[in-house]
């Protein structure tokens, strides 16, 4: 043995170590690859030896070779061997090699689990450290699952060195094993306040990384981070926190308000540029998230802009660059404050640093206005001329086009100018963006009708001078422009002054050198031109011109017929034959022009690029279904009849569908035509609109004569400057005129008030030179309005979108190592580290118990109450009162995660109050308050009330109160009911008539029992003397995150109500869908006005994330009341109540499917007992169906099974049984909290009757 070791170390003498290898490679520069391959052979030999030192040395060399690009994965097993050495030296080498070359599909990784676990628990902190470092690079889902618990233990290690590494690596573990996030999170949170700054920094780092991807889950940590921000002195930590706040503020504007002050202080005080920069960035984010109601709003912006200016003016290029970057963020919301620094930014365009120039360009994009567009583009054109290097020049070119075309050519006042800019850009040699210019030309010519005449003239010039653009054709991207030119000239040929000449230009032999697709367009459009020429000259006494044209085509087209390009060939030969035929007719003096023109009649309308995507899939169409069954692999006879059967069935149903679809299509076509007829922006296909053409202002612009002697410049083109001058003159004139008018007005109004500014003209003052319709792009009818941004479905962070505030459930514990995996260890045997998940487990079970108790109490109390209430059907007043309590409580009690609401309201409190230490208050209602209110139901007539009034009260006092009110109620009862009926008659046609609600009729009196009151799902939203709003919420199967709120507005006054604006304060969970471009606090305009006594319905779409809990949103309706002599601005606050029921959709279910569903075992059960229900069973079912969107699956005597589905696909199954006035409902659902809430709501429904 000893001998062996001696021998080993002697061998070692002659082994190469890393240094020798490096040296060797450097000495073999000529035959490096060969040398390395011999080295690899040596390494392979070394790896075969038993001596671990030799192996480690070999692995170390492999790591070096890996850097040079050699695949060393073949040595993975040896690396594992070295990793498991007991010596730190070798272990470190092994882990380094592993971290460089292991990845998820390295199969030996699974051998390492135990070794790594051993190292993690090693007494030597560096063994542990090395293992953690290595693991951070190659952790796999399996490793993460198996080691999560060990690493979590290490987070509380005594050595800060280990703690910080363990904390950091948790992030990787979360990514690979998302289930570990919730159990580990509390400890991670603890580490934010670790005494060691390194550990603290690591925790901040991890949470920031997590929060960046799913910020809403981390809002509740804001107070803690706020404390850290104001106390920490570590710039690195500060930067991270400030960046995190930047991500959080968009979700919670109140947070921003709180942040502004400390951030401003930091900006003033810090000397670290990095910190200053991040502060400015976050302040910007805050300002973006805040609505403009802040008092020191502009001061903050000014501060930011001013600091950024200092950065931009700094000689350090890095600061300059970042300054510009941040400036562009401000620009989005506060363009005015940035625009005043235009000089500085234009200056940056001259910077020697290309990155800085590009940033400046980005900024310019946002800085343009109608006023300065021409000026800025002129400057850019100068830069285009100066620019060396095609990449930067191309970038300039795209930017110019971007700037001009942004938001639907919003800033262009003169399209002639724009066309000439585009034409000027065609001078650029060797640009890659020919197609971009071309598509702009096409777009403008198609969508701006008034410009066609001018555009056609310019394009004709371009075609005439095509040889200048096609200097060295094939690799010159600019010839793409000719594609556009030819098409525009052909399509709008009626505007051509001399179609003959253009036609001639398009048929020159040189054209044949152009790329095929351009030639094809040439040929096709030559035919269009031909048609125009024919039409122009027909009827003239001598038909010579027309015949000459035919001859020209017949002469030239054969060249294209021989083209190698199929498309060109096909079109050319087709058109050639056509022309020959026409020539024949011409010789017979037959009038053909009309028919030839008819070939190209009609107009193309622009279609929105997303149009296809937005066509909703019609119901019943399954795109994944086979049209023809794929041939079955086995051809056994048994299967054949089956296949036939399967084939025939769907076929049958499909034909049905298409029939319906065709009818539907025809109907839609009609509707669309109607719409188009009413749309002033829509260009109709009638030929008259093309012919009757009048472009004001085109005539006075001279098309400069062609001067062919100037080479390499498209002559007559540098015209855009003229437009700048012209435009200025025009504006001057307009301004002068306006002034005159103003003066006149002033004279009239003299003494009343002084006109504010006659200084710089504002945006609105600049009228466009042409009255320009910009044709909007066509969208399919019933296209969905939403623009769901396509998130990457593979994003690993998606899995980490986990609610962290919910208490842990039993099954969420991290898996713990066990000797035999199938035997579950008792918790006591586990290491003390286990105490944490254990605790929560106990806690949660305790909570459950509590809840059960509560439920029991609840139902008892209910019984009592029921007796008292007896016949009293509805007590609006009482329910109003109780609703107040209930609104808080339902959320409180019905939802198991008590900590959620507690934390949320902690946050609310922290955000709403001034500098109170965040941890000390306790505003949440004590959970012991029982839900009496549940018995009194969400009365439809309840008024919206102030939330803070609803402090929890004791049950007893509440009951007293209700007694007290009873007398009054009886009196009022009658009245109210009348009203209610009236209202119902008004609205019941809106109800979605589900199930068996034919019983709706309020006057059914044959029944022994009391008649079923009329049912409507519309409930009161808010009401005042002017207006009454009732609403209903419906889900939609096709979109699992959207519900539609239908609100009926009823004008109760004698005045006219108009300018109604509906706004809701979004919560994290539910958001009002606002149109694109609207801010998160903008209201939605109600699309109608209300004359006195009239009511109308509007629908609002809300997006919801979680549907398992009911929710209330506060909102306001503002409107103007206009009577004959006055108009006042009024508002009405309301509360939208999203019950869980509203997320359910009536879905039929067959009994066998229902049975299967119940058997699947995925559903969790719960039950409910209702007593004192004395209504017929079918009324009871009808109510459940109607109010809670269920459908009856099966009914046997006094027992029925019911089914419903939530918009997110949760199944809800009910088994309803009744026996003398007692109804028991057994329910099952895959989402227990949803089920609990639905049952509560059902209970409320029945407590009302």
């Amino acid at each position: 043995m000893a001998l062996k070791i001696v021998k080993g170390s002697i061998d070692r003498m002659f082994d190469k170590n890393l240094q020798d290898l490096v040296r060797g490679i450097r000495n073999h520069k000529e035959d490096e690859a060969k040398y390395i391959s011999t080295c690899i052979d040596e390494i392979k030999q070394e790896l075969k030896q038993d001596n671990i030192a030799v192996k480690a040395n070999a692995v170390c060399k492999l790591t070096y070779l890996q850097m040079l690009g050699y695949d060393v994965s073949w040595a993975a097993f040896n690396i594992v061997e070295v990793m498991s050495s007991s010596k730190f030296t070798y272990k470190r080498i092994g882990y380094l090699a592993a971290s460089q070359c292991f990845h998820e599909s390295t199969d030996v990784i699974m051998l390492t689990t135990n070794q790594i676990r051993k190292d993690l628990s090693s007494p030597n902190q560096y063994d542990t450290g090395v293992a953690l470092t290595g693991l951070s690079c190659f952790v796999t889902p399996d490793l993460a699952r198996d080691l999560a618990n060990d690493i979590m233990t290490l987070m509380s290690h005594t050595k800060p060195y280990i703690r910080k590494k363990a904390v950091l690596i948790m992030y990787k573990v979360f990514l690979k094993y998302p289930e570990s996030l919730r159990p580990a999170f509390p400890r991670l949170k603890e580490k934010l306040e670790d005494p060691d700054p390194g550990v603290q920094s690591a925790a901040v780092n991890v949470i920031c990384e997590l929060a960046r991807r799913n910020p809403k889950n981390y809002l509740s940590l804001a107070p803690l981070f706020f404390k850290l921000m104001t106390s920490s002195t570590n710039n690195w930590v500060l930067i991270k926190i400030i960046k995190l706040f930047g991500a959080l503020t968009p979700l919670e504007p109140r947070l921003g308000k709180k942040l502004i002050e400390p951030l401003t202080n930091l900006i003033h005080s810090t000397s670290a540029m990095s910190l200053l920069y991040e502060c400015v960035n976050t302040v910007i984010a805050v300002l973006i998230s805040l609505s403009s109601g802040m008092p020191n709003h502009s001061a903050s912006i000014q501060l930011c802009v001013q600091k950024l200016r200092i950065l931009i003016e700094d000689s350090d290029q890095n600061l300059k660059y970042l300054g510009l970057l941040a400036m562009s963020k401000i620009l989005k919301t506060h363009p005015k404050s940035v625009q005043s620094h235009k000089d500085l930014i234009l200056q940056c365009l001259d910077d020697k640093d290309e990155s800085i120039r590009l940033r400046a360009l980005d900024l310019l994009y946002g800085m343009v206005s109608k006023k300065n567009l021409m000026e800025i583009v002129k400057k850019l054109m100068l830069h285009v001329d100066k620019a060396e290097g095609t990449t930067y020049r191309d970038e300039l070119l795209t930017k110019i086009i971007d700037i001009c075309s942004q938001s639907n050519y919003q800033y262009i006042t003169n399209f002639e100018w724009y066309i000439s800019i585009l034409v000027e850009l065609t001078r650029l040699e060797g640009t890659r963006h020919g197609h971009l210019i071309a598509s702009q030309m096409l777009d403008v010519a198609i969508r701006v009708k008034a410009i066609r005449g001018f555009a056609v003239a310019q394009m004709a010039t371009l075609l005439d001078n095509a040889h200048l653009l096609t200097g060295n054709t094939q690799r010159n991207g600019i010839c793409e422009v000719l594609y556009a030119a030819a098409w525009i000239c052909g399509e709008f040929s009626e505007h051509l002054e001399d179609p003959m000449q253009t036609l001639e230009a398009m048929l020159r032999p040189k054209v044949a050198t152009l790329p095929g697709h351009i030639q094809a367009v040439y040929v096709q459009n030559a035919a269009k031109l031909f048609a125009t020429v024919l039409q122009k000259h027909e009827g003239e006494s001598d038909s010579q011109v027309a015949q000459e044209t035919s001859q020209l085509l017949i002469d030239r087209l054969p060249l294209f017929v021989q083209s190698a390009n199929l498309e060109v060939q096909e079109r050319a030969s087709c058109i050639l034959q056509l022309v020959k035929y026409i020539q024949k007719l011409q010789q017979k003096n037959v009038e053909v022009a009309e028919e030839v023109t008819a070939l190209f009649a009609g107009e193309l309308n622009p279609v929105a690029p997303k149009a296809q995507k937005k066509v909703p899939i019609p119901q019943g169409l399954d795109l994944d279904a086979w049209i023809n069954e794929p041939p079955s692999e086995s051809e056994s006879e048994d299967e054949k009849p089956k296949a036939v059967f399967a084939k025939e069935e769907p076929k049958h149903s499909r034909t049905k569908h298409t029939e319906v679809d065709e009818k539907e299509l025809a109907r839609r076509r009609e509707v669309r035509k109607q719409e188009q007829a009413n749309n002033p922006f829509y260009i109709k296909a009638s030929p008259s609109s093309q012919k009757v053409y009048d472009a004001p202002g085109v005539e006075h612009i001279p098309v400069v004569q062609i001067d062919l002697s100037v080479p390499l410049k498209v002559p007559g083109m540098p015209m855009s400057d003229q437009y700048v001058k012209l435009e200025e003159e025009r504006r001057q004139k307009a301004k002068a005129e306006r002034k005159k008018k103003e003066k006149k007005k002033k004279r009239e109004k003299r003494g009343k008030e002084r006109k504010a500014d006659s200084g710089p003209e504002s945006e609105e003052d600049i009228a466009p030179a042409h009255q320009v319709d910009i044709v909007t792009e066509e969208m399919p009818e019933n296209a969905l309005p939403s623009d769901d941004d396509d998130k990457d479905p593979n994003d690993p962070h998606k899995a980490l979108d986990i609610d962290l505030d919910k208490p842990l459930a039993d099954n969420e514990k991290l898996p713990v190592r066990t000797h035999r995996p199938e035997v579950l260890k008792s918790p006591a045997d586990d290491r003390d580290s286990e105490s944490f998940p254990l605790e929560t487990k106990k806690k949660s079970s305790k909570e459950k118990k509590e809840k059960k108790d509560k439920d029991r109490k609840k139902s008892k109390e209910e019984k009592k109450k029921k007796k008292k209430q007896k016949e009293v059907e509805e007590e609006p007043l009482e329910s109003q009162l109780e609703e107040a309590v209930q609104s808080e409580e339902i959320q409180e009690v019905a939802s198991p995660p008590t900590s959620t609401s507690a934390e949320a309201s902690d946050l609310d409190f922290w955000l709403s109050t001034a500098p109170v230490p965040p941890a000390t208050q306790d505003v949440t209602a004590p959970p012991s308050v029982t839900t009496v209110s549940a018995s009194s139901a969400a009365a439809p007539d309840s008024e919206p009330e102030e939330p803070k009034e609803t402090e929890p009260e004791d049950t007893v006092s509440l009951q007293k109160l209700s007694k007290h009110k009873k007398k009054k109620q009886k009196k009022e009862k009658e009245e109210k009911e009348k009203k209610k009926k009236k209202r119902h008659h008004h609205h019941h046609h809106h109800s979605d008539g589900g199930g068996e609600d034919s019983v709706q009729n309020g006057t059914v009196e044959e029944e022994e029992e009391e008649p079923l009151p009329p049912m409507s799902n519309y409930s009161l939203l808010a009401e005042n003397t002017y207006i009454k709003m009732v609403y209903d919420i419906q889900g939609n199967h096709q979109d699992e995150s959207k519900v539609v709120v239908s609100v009926i507005f009823e004008n109760k006054s004698d005045s006219f109500l108009k300018s109604m604006e509906f706004n809701v304060l979004d919560s994290l969970n539910s958001k009002l869908q606002r149109p694109e471009g609207a801010g998160p606090h903008d209201g939605l305009t109600v699309p109608f006005q209300l004359p006195p006594g009239v009511s109308n319905e509007a629908r609002f779409v809300f997006s919801v994330q979680s549907i398992v809990m009911p929710q209330k949103l506060k909102g306001t309706l503002t409107f103007i009341v206009k009577s004959e002599d006055s108009s006042t601005h009024e508002k009405l606050d309301f509360r939208l109540h999203f019950t869980c029921t509203s997320y359910l959709i009536t879905t039929p279910c067959y009994s066998d499917a229902y049975a299967k569903l119940l058997e699947s075992g995925n559903l969790k059960g719960s039950s409910l007992r209702l007593e004192g229900i004395n209504m017929p069973f079918h009324h009871l079912l009808a109510r459940i169906c109607f109010h809670h969107h269920f459908s009856v699956v099966e009914r046997i005597d006094s027992c029925a099974s019911m089914y419903s589905r939530s918009i997110q696909g949760h199944h809800v199954c009910l088994l309803v049984k009744t026996a003398d006035q007692t109804v028991s409902i057994d329910a099952k659902c895959d989402e227990p909290s949803l089920l609990g809430n639905v049952l509560d709501e059902i209970k409320q429904t029945f407590s009302k009757c």
Binding site: N17, A56, M67, K164, D394
Partner: protein
């Protein structure tokens, strides 16, 4: 998050590569080449950030426009960090500075040769600064202390290169092909925007 750390010299020869996301070897080499092409074109007096340039394939290689390259150029070496938007640009520049200063301390006047012959050591130092793509420690003294403690441990174990092998190395050391410039941090005037201590 830091996605990758690359160190290469003025000719594009890699001296250290550290990817925090898996890329196959040939992909790694391609990324190094592209990065070198991008970075080496730039003057020393332009800004040290490269991001989202549509015209460069490097960003599609690395994985999107969220990433940017932040680099510093010291004498013969480029230190390039590829990071996403969660990192502060100036912070990373400082971090590179901290890393280089740490190298300088550990190698006593670090030069390219140190990196060439002791790639493993450089890795060990880097491991104390960045772990799994996240910044672990920014305090230079702490980093140096940990590195030294580990080195001491290695020494106590006898080290990888036992005495005899070292003697051989010493002999071989005689014919060094070239002696590159020293990249003594103290001598090169690097402007660090925020020199406040971390």
């Amino acid at each position: 998050m830091i996605k990758a750390i690359l160190i290469f010299n003025n000719h594009g020869k890699p001296r250290l590569i550290r990817f925090y996301q898996y890329f196959a070897e040939d992909m790694q080499q391609q990324i190094i080449r592209e990065t070198f092409h991008l970075v080496s074109k730039r003057d020393d007096n332009v800004c040290n950030f490269l991001e989202g340039e549509v015209f460069h394939p490097i960003f599609s290689l690395i994985g999107g426009s969220d990433y940017k390259l932040i680099y510093r150029h010291y004498a013969t070496l480029y230190f390039v960090f590829c990071v996403d938007s969660s990192e502060s640009e100036l912070g990373i520049l400082d971090l590179i500075q901290v890393f280089v200063e740490t190298l300088d301390k550990c190698f006593e006047n670090v030069c390219e040769l140190d990196l060439i012959f002791h790639m493993d050591k450089v890795h060990y130092i880097l491991q104390e600064v960045v772990m799994g793509g996240m910044v672990l420690e920014t305090n230079m003294n702490e980093i140096v202390a940990q590195v030294e403690l580990q080195n001491r441990m290695e020494k106590s174990e006898g080290g990888l290169s036992a005495a005899p092998a070292r003697a051989v190395s010493a002999v071989k050391n005689m014919n060094l092909p070239e002696i590159p410039r020293n990249i003594n941090i103290g001598d090169i005037n690097i402007k660090v925007p925020s020199l406040s201590p971390f």
